[in-house]
Symmetry: C2
Subunit: 423 residues, 2 copies
Amino acid sequence: MTDIRDNIDRANQKVVERLCAGQPVWIGCKTAVDVIPGMTRHTILHAGPPIEWERMCQPMRNGILGAILYEGLASDVDEANSLASSGRLTLAPCHQYGAVGGMTGITSASMPVHIVRNEAFGNLAYCVPHEGASPTGFGWGTYDEGSIRHARWMQEELGPVLDAGLRGVGGINMRQLIGRAIQMGDEDHGRCGAATTLLTRELAPHLVRLDVSKDVLGRVFDFLLSADIFALHVIMAAARSMVEPAKKIPYSTVVTTMARNGVEFGIKISSLGDQWFTGPAQPIKTVFFSPEWTAADATPDIGDSSIVETVGLGGLIHAAAPAQEAAFGGTYAEALRKTEEAYAFCAGVHEAWTIPNLDFRGVPLGIDIRKVLKMGVTPILDTATAHKDGGKIGIGEARAPREAFEAALRAFANSHEAESIDA
Amino acid sequence: MTDIRDNIDRANQKVVERLCAGQPVWIGCKTAVDVIPGMTRHTILHAGPPIEWERMCQPMRNGILGAILYEGLASDVDEANSLASSGRLTLAPCHQYGAVGGMTGITSASMPVHIVRNEAFGNLAYCVPHEGASPTGFGWGTYDEGSIRHARWMQEELGPVLDAGLRGVGGINMRQLIGRAIQMGDEDHGRCGAATTLLTRELAPHLVRLDVSKDVLGRVFDFLLSADIFALHVIMAAARSMVEPAKKIPYSTVVTTMARNGVEFGIKISSLGDQWFTGPAQPIKTVFFSPEWTAADATPDIGDSSIVETVGLGGLIHAAAPAQEAAFGGTYAEALRKTEEAYAFCAGVHEAWTIPNLDFRGVPLGIDIRKVLKMGVTPILDTATAHKDGGKIGIGEARAPREAFEAALRAFANSHEAESIDA
């Protein structure tokens, strides 16, 4: 008779294999309503697990107000507020639409979205482009005129130019690019400078041949140069495309989604498909950009960007990015320790994403909720910090809340109650 | 009474300080004869210490023949051979003209040269652009039609476009860029992918705004994408500009130049100015690109690129670039060991160029010939391998010959024979 533990281990290996087999290719950047199945003119997507307007944190509400104004669905903020709370809009998690979004994650019909296709399985994923170096924008929870103007620029110039360039290059293989970026000191969440620089260099020969004015091209390259973080949202879409085929493997206790809405942190595990398990969004250990801000000003952990930790990047691999650790005063030894911890709670490694200074050991891949709970340490998520009223005010790291993992294990146990199970 | 050792130590610290204070800025890419003082239509510069035509290795001779044909100084190879051996050309080391050159180092009047200005001291240095991914070219010791055509393209398109772009950007600070590239896994000799990618991204906003056709721009960006090694020759010029102000500090035993011509390896030490001390060019431990080649096909160590080890990069910092070590089958532990060795024979560290996985310790800087001889280990030079008849056939690493260091220490001792000296 087979022990359930053998079934779980085999299932978890299968999940790791599917994550590892993913071949995410960045193939385009098109208007959300044209490409995201189910998206409408009255749909606004947000980060994290589902949450109603009334319970949302202020930055997320602000992002929605911004999107309503940007889409022309209301003519002023009061009208936008009424519409947002009226129930006449579809407010739903990005994840529910095959997408992800940074921080507030606000994604509306007219916005351009990166499209990543997982060539190994054929599925697609989406993410709005990162807003760049500015501390404001819908993602950061602001809706001032500058935020709306910048969103318009991304819609009118950035998206179409990137899309045409990607057509020229025939898509960029993000499995290779992320692998190379890790060799170059990116953990690909807080630090994406290598990935952004590589993307820029790879796109450049095609962008310069487009029938586009020098002014427009110049602005696109200015933007790419200004924002080391630009690649993050392409990497997030790549990760989103990798996790989909790893879902719904019976018996698997491996995490296939981690996402936060600023109020709750939610996870999914493979065997339980698209069911969310939540705990409270955690405070972020933040390095604030200015002494004027303290923890009291900060929104708790927010955004879908933790999809990158779900596929073995970010907070799981500080050993590959000692600068990420150093930004918070940590030593190289501490970076190594954190990464060893991640190896201990993961079910496997990614064969193509390797860490040079660990003799090219694959990154830890496939967070096993059983191991997390047994060890008593939850994954670290590298992140940024939004002001409670909106705007970027720092960078930081947070731990996932234990409650979400406990809820998932309880549900897993219930679904197998006839069999013997033990965390 | 001051011990001479104190004078030496103080002098060596001064040399380290001057190397460290260097602010190399890549300011242009212009025609050699227009910018290199003393250069004429009949001057051809080569790598390494001085050597007559008769004693040169074949790749260096081939490069000179190629340059003669490219410059139109002869109409065929026989005529070029006669001219080269006639004594009517000035054949001299790049180093003698404030320049450096990769592999054969061939530099002639019409070639474009990167210009780097050491802003802290005001001096200039030069290096021809790297020929890119091709295994042929004057640098590799070939003079076929393709090599000449490619040199012409660099003269007519690459050089002018880079020069205009650099004017637009106002120069690129190579101290910062090299520092960042080290954070990204470049040792900046065998591995320059991060530096090349960063340069491309930094130049792009200015290049796309130039009044240049899309075709020309496209070819320039294709070239920059094709050759991870492109930045090496800019880095070499930067290093060359850094060592000049560190020369001629009385009492200093720190190396200010290392260069090879394929027959001899030569060094200079600070206190003895521009005097060369040589030993035999060493065989290269090579990973050959094809099993058709063996050590018997290889030219000994050649090129001025070892100027980068002179300023603490390349073979001195494999700890920062484990992939460079792995390319030769070495482990991370071996990379660490080699870098510890370099710290032991260097007089100091570079404060702005740091190694993340050594807790941001500065790279070892200022090779002290006393320590090299006492330890019995000479610096490692990361390099490429040329076929004995020309053409790139592998990548490798070589050790500097002990003889050059011994000759330098003897000369140093002679110059201080009245004082007590002891290696």
